[in-house]
């Protein structure tokens, strides 16, 4: 073979390599396409694992009508980060992980990953993770939301999440009596 490879030939090689690449194409509710590593998708999501095993993966984009493009982008981002760039515990060639406990606190990169999300994006991601059966991502996102509630009074929580109080005064008083310990010296 020539040392000097023509551009066309190299282009061809690239196409072949791409076809061999183990990725799955996912389509969001608004029709955007995303590519994700097949191995990571199968490992992190029970639903995608089932679809891959069951052969219901469409080469032109598997429809995920439940998930908007923003949430799906985050899901794919999470999967790819998991597959590629975990500096401490690259799990690439081995599925053995150190996460044997039911839930270990989020790793540094997972923290950063959820920290940069807006509230809306975070809630969407919770839904998407739940829909796709991604246990770890669901834990990490829910953990993040719970951290926003930690150490806060109900009024502060309402403010953070923009929750409207629809109780009557009497009802509120009744619940406060019921759960007096949670409002002790409030």
């Amino acid at each position: 073979m020539e040392v000097d490879k023509g551009k066309g030939e190299a282009e061809e090689t690239r196409k072949v390599a791409e076809a061999d690449r183990d990725t799955v194409t996912l389509k969001s509710s608004d029709g955007k396409l995303f590519e994700v590593s097949k191995e990571a998708a199968a490992r992190l999501s029970t639903v995608l694992a089932g679809m891959i095993a069951g052969g219901s993966i469409d080469d032109n984009g598997t429809d995920l009508k439940q998930i908007g493009s923003e949430a799906l982008e985050n899901v794919v981002d999470y999967c790819n980060k998991h597959a590629n760039s975990i500096p401490s515990a690259a799990l690439i060639s081995s599925s053995i992980s150190f996460n044997t406990a039911p839930f270990k606190e989020p790793e540094e990169w997972e923290r950063k990953f959820v920290d940069r999300l807006s509230h809306d994006a975070l809630f969407d991601l919770v839904e998407a993770a739940n829909f796709l059966g991604m246990e770890r991502l669901l834990d990490v996102t829910c953990h993040k939301i719970s951290e926003m509630m930690k150490g806060k009074s109900p009024d502060q929580i309402r403010e953070v999440f923009n929750i409207k109080n629809d109780y009557t005064k009497e009802e509120l008083e009744e619940i406060r009596q019921e759960l007096a310990w949670a409002f002790y010296d409030d």
Binding site: N84, I96, F98, A101, M149
Partner: protein, 634 residues
């Protein structure tokens, strides 16, 4: 699968279904979780959740009583604990329990106010409920707990510990030297019947592990034991392991293992009488040179990070069943008595050598340690010192050390370490040693941080300052380098470098005749190299050349020259008409290393925006005549 029609995208927390809101509450301290029922009607009746999670956190009561009024806060905490457990128990049963005591600016008060153990305390007779965390643990409602976390913190801790719902996140760089921990935990108070996971953080001792009277198994279901930032005695740790026949994962992070050896075997009575007391000094003289063993017969995952013990004693680890092993610490601190037979993966991170050890001993210590994992499929090594320090140049010495040991099953080998610019031979020999003992490795990853020059005299006292300074220096170097490179690029019409003057040489040591690299001939298909590029003939480029020439079945090479900038420039340049004056040192080095005049760079479509090199070569006896060079994706 036919998905139902899409609902409008939720943008509000309250739009999430019940089970997801409850999942969020499972991570929230119980007081806050319970109080969510007043948020709005949507939240009523969500807590207690069906999963039976109770998280008791003194920080939920941080505002009670104001500053300094500890006792009021304490009472509120215990009252809340009683109510939360009762409510959760009423709903289902308490399956997850986490207790986090924050001492704030008074770490001494943690033990005194929250952990004082009284075997006679009665939680039914007092209105307030509990007097100590041990009462919470001993309460009948918590008997079915599956996962238990006990943690404490104080404002002396690093800010990182502020995270996590009752779970402390800890990452310290150096081994823990003991004399810390905020409370003593009575192990006999821990609900043991159904317990599968036990996390203990910031504890100064595990008490009540050894009961001469109750020889029966204490923790019939315990599978995971995780101690973080604790100060425990070897005996209590051993007792815990013995009491947990199903223990599969032992995770020790920043644990100081205290050793107290008995004076005489017959003096057992005396020893037990004193074993709770702080009588270290009394026994210290007898400890020197003694050997203690931690025997973990059933453990399959063993994590030992930054643990330490007194220097005068040796602690041996006997874990014959271990499959996954992770170690971070000084190289001499751990002795494995029997090599694990079925180890699949080992992550070993060795800290900078200790003052007690001379460089001469280091190769011995290293290879004897690593030899234990000869069955591993995945081996990751990280050295906080130059990789040349582990080189064994003398074949006879190497044979004496390693004997017939080969890492026959090893699939992935990763090595991260420093490399001195001038000491190439040592690094070359070290890589040669590694390749030689791994005959079937398919994936090799080398991450090298270049350190300018070895200091003439190692100043052992200021390791940290040194490494910090090095990092700053490297940062500065990288910046300067970058500016230089940009400048080159801007003036790229000028012939920047003359390609003919540079010659990439072989690495002394690595191309030794005494090395026979089986893996390079038949197995190694992927090489990942990360190095700091300083000039075309640098160690990293020499390695590229080496693997290109010797790797007969190589298919992919991932290269990171330190900061990727050169890739960007190279890509622009090569994209156009080929020039004999490449614009960057990197390209020059690589092209010289591969002895080709031209590289084809492609911009792969889609999400990958890096250039991609296709390189061909003439080696008549291989089927693959070209392989790919990809930038390392970080």
């Amino acid at each position: 699968m036919a998905p139902p029609p899409p609902p409008p995208p939720p943008t509000h927390l309250c739009d999430l279904p019940d089970e997801l809101l409850q999942h969020i509450l499972d991570f929230t301290p119980s007081r806050e979780a319970a109080s969510t029922s007043v948020l709005s009607r949507r939240w009523r009746g969500l807590w207690p959740t069906p999963s039976g999670a109770v998280i008791l956190d003194t920080r939920s009561y941080g505002h009670v009583g104001g500053l300094g009024v500890y006792n009021k806060r304490r009472d509120a905490f215990f009252r809340g604990a009683g109510e939360a457990i009762a409510a959760a128990h009423h709903g289902s049963s308490v399956r997850t329990l986490a207790v986090h005591v924050d001492g704030g600016d008074d770490p001494d008060g943690v033990e005194e106010r929250f952990f004082t153990y009284r075997s006679d305390s009665d939680w039914t007779s007092t209105g307030c409920g509990f007097h100590s965390v041990h009462d919470v643990l001993r309460h009948p409602s918590t008997r079915g707990v599956v996962e238990l976390t006990v943690a404490a913190s104080s404002s002396d801790d690093l800010p990182a510990s502020a995270g996590g719902g009752g779970r402390i996140f800890c990452d310290w760089k150096k081994p823990f030297e003991g004399e810390e921990g905020l409370y003593k935990l009575r192990v006999d108070a821990v609900p043991s019947e159904a317990l599968r996971v036990l996390h203990v953080t910031n504890c100064s001792g595990l008490d009540g592990t050894h009961h001469p009277a109750t020889a029966a198994v204490l923790f019939p279901c315990l599978e995971v034991l995780r101690l973080c930032r604790c100060d425990v005695s070897l005996d209590s740790l051993q007792d815990m392991v013995v009491a947990s026949p199903r223990l599969a994962t032992l995770h020790l992070e920043r644990v100081f293992i205290r050793t107290k050896f008995r004076r005489l075997v017959s003096n057992r009575y005396f020893y037990q009488l004193n074993w709770d007391g702080d009588d270290d000094d009394q026994h210290e003289d007898y400890d020197d040179g003694r050997v203690g063993t931690l025997c973990c017969p059933g453990v399959t995952t063993l994590v030992v990070l930054n643990c330490s013990h007194r220097d005068s004693v040796t602690i041996e680890l006997d874990a014959p069943m271990v499959q996954v092993f992770r170690y971070k610490g000084y190289i001499h601190r751990l002795v494995l008595t029997s090599p694990p037979r079925d180890v699949r993966r080992a992550d070993l991170h060795f800290l900078e050598r200790n003052v007690y050890y001379h460089t001469r001993d280091l190769p011995e210590l290293f290879w004897l340690f690593v030899k234990n994992f000869s069955n591993a499929k995945v081996l990751k090594l990280k050295l906080d010192f130059p990789i040349g320090d582990i080189a064994v140049d003398d074949k006879k010495r190497y044979d004496d050390l390693m004997g017939e040991t080969l890492f026959c099953n090893l699939d992935l080998l990763e090595m991260e370490g420093q490399q001195h610019r001038r000491k190439r031979k040592g690094a070359g020999v070290a890589i040669g040693n590694l390749l030689q003992c791994c005959p079937a490795v398919r994936d090799l990853r080398l991450y090298l941080n270049t350190v300018k020059d070895p200091p003439n005299k190692r100043r052992y006292s200021s390791h940290r300052a040194d490494s910090e300074r090095n990092r700053m220096y490297l940062d500065r170097e990288a910046r300067l380098d970058f500016h230089r490179s940009v400048e080159h690029f801007m003036r790229r019409r000028d012939p920047v470098l003359s390609a003919n003057k540079v010659k990439v040489s072989d690495i002394p040591g690595l191309t030794n005749k005494s090395f026979l690299f089986n893996c390079l001939r038949f197995y190694l298909i992927r090489v990942t190299l990360q190095f700091d590029m300083d000039k075309a003939n640098c160690f990293g480029v020499q390695l590229v050349k080496f693997f290109f020439e010797k790797g007969m079945v190589l298919e992919e090479m991932h290269i990171d020259d330190g900061n990727k900038k050169l890739w960007d420039h190279m890509h622009r340049k090569i994209g156009g008409s080929t020039s004999s004056q490449p614009c960057s040192e990197f390209f020059l080095g690589i092209s010289k290393a591969l002895s080709v005049n031209q590289l084809n760079s492609l911009n792969a479509s889609g999400r990958i925006s890096y250039p991609w090199l296709q390189v061909s070569r003439r080696i008549p006896w291989t089927t693959k005549s070209s392989f790919t060079i990809l930038p390392l994706d970080r």
